[in-house]
């Protein structure tokens, strides 16, 4: 229970990769003794500071390319830092890039021995731990079958069981659980909680499942461009990160004042706080109208990028017509990341008669959302089509905007109840 000396201490850690655009660039540099430079530097880490104590679970969040993997590889000892130092007072085991470290021809059991040899762990120790590993992995007879017959989920089971039970001082779990089935994930989380609870071990948990970070981790850091952007309590770090991911730099700025004053331009579109188009967007060429912007409004008209679960809100978007249109149909759709359509609605279906529009007209459509969406990330599509031919789009943006519902536990369910469940009370007359 020694909380005074850090288990891991990274100080001013930087890592540079040399990028050679042409394969013989390096040869030219070598032959000229470095006088001719043919590489570009890529700094994956820039001055990262971090400490980890026993009994902690550190969550690391960050976009792709923020330096997470590089940092973990330095921790695991496979990459050497360009400058700065990283000291670990114990054994680090990393479940990185699952499965690639297994020999596909060998059985699960043989691979456990092999991995132990590679990690410099004695055979006696492994034999002693083998029953625990087997029981946890619950692979049955597959334990003695070659890895090439395993599904990716089975490989995940083997990898987690192996690393978790060889009792590392630091266990690095990097998106490794995503491929396992839910009940195994649950087991893994419980095991990690035990590891942390013992106060002897520490876990570094890297995932895009932000809810898991808030639930499991005792501390979180947000990596951005190779340095720690923010460190602190998991809910706060996750929220700031989420805000940033939804709306870029603006997201960081708006954290200062949660409710930015809404300033509207002459057509009624808010100047700031609109959702940015996300990476998943599929934008179709304009057929007579263009989307000026899409935003979420609370009931009181506040523009927001996140909505607490259970709060009614409105999806709003503004369209400008670049050609005259007669009674067009407006539509919108809300889907999950997996593509389940939760809301799919248009003005024709709801019996709203739209007017004719002339060139240059701007229309703002507001869709009140009453659905009790559960916490999670959602994607909005919006568009406008001809009245007679709903497949002839004047404007169409599919999965173009992303927003988050925050709050209560993400259970994997999509909807919430409107209130607490009711019990009639026991009526037992014994």
């Amino acid at each position: 229970m020694n909380h005074t000396a850090p288990l891991v201490r990274a100080t001013n850690l930087s890592k540079r990769f040399k990028i050679y655009p042409k394969p013989n660039g390096r040869l030219i540099e070598w032959l000229t003794g470095g006088r001719v430079q043919r590489h570009a530097d890529f700094w994956a880490l820039r001055g990262l500071d971090m400490t980890l104590y026993r009994g902690e679970c550190l969550g690391i969040v960050g976009a792709n390319g923020s330096g997470k993997s590089t940092f973990l590889k330095i921790l695991a000892g496979t990459l050497t830092p360009t400058s700065g130092s990283c000291s670990v007072d114990g054994k680090v085991m990393a479940i990185l890039e699952l499965g690639t470290g297994f020999n596909r021809e060998l059985t699960g059991r043989q691979n456990i021995h092999l991995a132990a040899q590679l990690l410099g762990i004695g055979a006696d120790y492994v034999n002693q731990k083998m029953p625990d590993i087997e029981a946890f992995a619950a692979l049955g007879e597959f334990m003695d079958r070659p890895i090439k017959l395993y599904s990716s989920g089975m490989q995940a089971r083997l990898a987690f069981s192996l690393f978790a039970f060889l009792e590392p001082d630091v266990l690095i779990v990097d998106e490794a659980l995503a491929v396992g089935d839910i009940s195994f994930q649950r087991k893994c989380y419980r095991h990690m909680e035990q590891m942390i609870g013992s106060g002897r071990q520490a876990v570094i948990f890297v995932t895009h499942d932000l809810h898991a970070v808030t639930k499991l981790c005792t501390r979180a850091i947000w990596l951005r461009n190779g340095h720690v952007e923010l460190e602190g309590e998991p809910p706060e770090v996750v929220e700031r990160y989420q805000r940033f991911m939804l709306n870029g730099e603006e997201g960081i700025a708006t954290t200062a004042s949660r409710r930015p004053a809404v300033s509207l331009d002459e057509s009624g579109v808010p100047q700031s706080g609109r959702l940015a188009r996300c990476e998943a967007a599929v934008l179709y060429p304009s057929g007579g109208a263009e989307v000026l912007g899409l935003w979420l409004e609370l009931e009181d008209g506040t523009v927001t990028q996140m909505v607490r679960a259970g709060k009614p809100f409105r999806i709003c978007y503004a369209l400008r017509f670049v050609a005259p249109a007669m009674q067009p149909v407006f539509g919108t759709r809300v889907t999950t990341a997996r593509g389940d359509v939760l809301i799919g609605i248009n003005t024709k279906m709801t019996g709203v008669i739209t007017p004719d529009y002339a060139l240059g007209d701007v229309e703002i459509v507001r869709w009140p959302v009453m659905a009790g969406l559960a916490a999670g990330d959602y994607f909005i599509s919006c568009g406008c089509s001809l009245y007679d031919d709903p497949l002839h789009f004047l404007a169409r943006e599919v999965d173009a905007y992303r927003f988050a519902i925050t709050g209560a536990a993400a259970t994997g369910a999509l909807c919430n109840l409107t209130g607490a469940p009711l019990l009639a009370g026991a009526s037992c007359t014994a």
Binding site: P23, K73, A76, T78, L114
Partner: protein, 262 residues
């Protein structure tokens, strides 16, 4: 470096064994192929050089199949040597999965290539011994010395493997260059021909080839039951020290970058 290799000895050994077992994984006869391949080579050479090329007689060797024994006695060690280097060249790139995931020292994978090539050599040389005895070659106390030139040759293979393996991470053309160089070296080693058939002018070229002293020593010990020429063993030891040191310094200098590139 020696202590890291010692620490990972069981991994090296197990992996080399697994190599032997799994090279023919999925085939009907499996492990047996490890024996069939050298056997077929011995058979083919016996036929070609016994029947087609006329039975070239070599003094001190059985009249029938004598040349085939001579050829295999040089060819099998050469195979192990060139296998070590060829597989050493891809030792890092081929084991990128391990190197990227675990802090295993790089040289372990070169050592594993050498160990697995050496295991194959042990099998094929044992077969050769049995067949040679059957053909009428007398056994000899000098055979007990055979491991010395063989181990030294494999040490050179390890050193060269470290060098080409490291370079191959950065310049993938190295693999191709190595194959061509090995082919040239093969014909510059007295394996298919006898040293006395070589024109005097070519002799220094042959002697500059590290495989020549090893094959010469093996021939002397195995076929003619006499101690190898005095110069061969120090020459081999010298080559081994120089190549391993070069490989060690090269690897140490570039160690930090290898895993960045893989």
């Amino acid at each position: 470096m020696p202590n890291t290799l010692y620490r990972y000895r069981s991994f090296i050994w197990q992996h080399a064994l697994a190599d032997l077992r799994h090279r023919y994984a999925g085939t009907g006869m499996g492990v047996i192929w490890n024996v069939v391949h050298p056997l077929s080579l011995i058979a083919v050479y016996s036929v070609i050089f016994g029947l087609i090329y006329g039975n070239m007689a070599i003094e001190g060797l059985p009249a029938h199949g004598g040349f085939a024994i001579y050829l295999c006695a040089g060819f099998f060690p050469w195979m192990a040597f060139s296998d070590s280097i060829n597989r050493g060249a891809t030792a890092f790139s081929g084991n990128a999965a391990y190197l990227k995931k675990l802090p295993v020292p790089e040289q372990v994978f070169v050592a594993q290539s050498v160990a697995s090539a050496s295991l194959t050599l042990v099998i094929s040389f044992c077969l050769l011994t049995v067949i040679s005895l059957a053909l009428g070659l007398r056994p000899s106390i000098y055979w007990l010395l055979l491991p010395i030139p063989i181990i030294l040759l494999q040490c050179i293979g390890f050193g060269i493997g470290l060098i080409v393996g490291t370079l191959n991470v950065f310049f993938t053309d190295i693999g191709q260059i190595v194959m061509i160089a090995l082919n040239v070296l093969f014909w510059l080693t007295p394996i298919v021909y006898l040293p006395r058939q070589v024109p005097k002018a070519l002799n220094p070229v042959l002697m500059a080839n590290p495989a020549t002293p090893a094959v010469e020593a093996i021939h002397n010990l195995f076929l003619w039951h006499r101690l190898p020429d005095l110069w061969t063993i120090p020459a081999l030891a010298g080559w081994a020290v120089v190549t391993i040191l070069c490989g060690y310094f090269l690897l140490n200098g570039l160690r930090g970058e290898i895993r960045d590139v893989l």
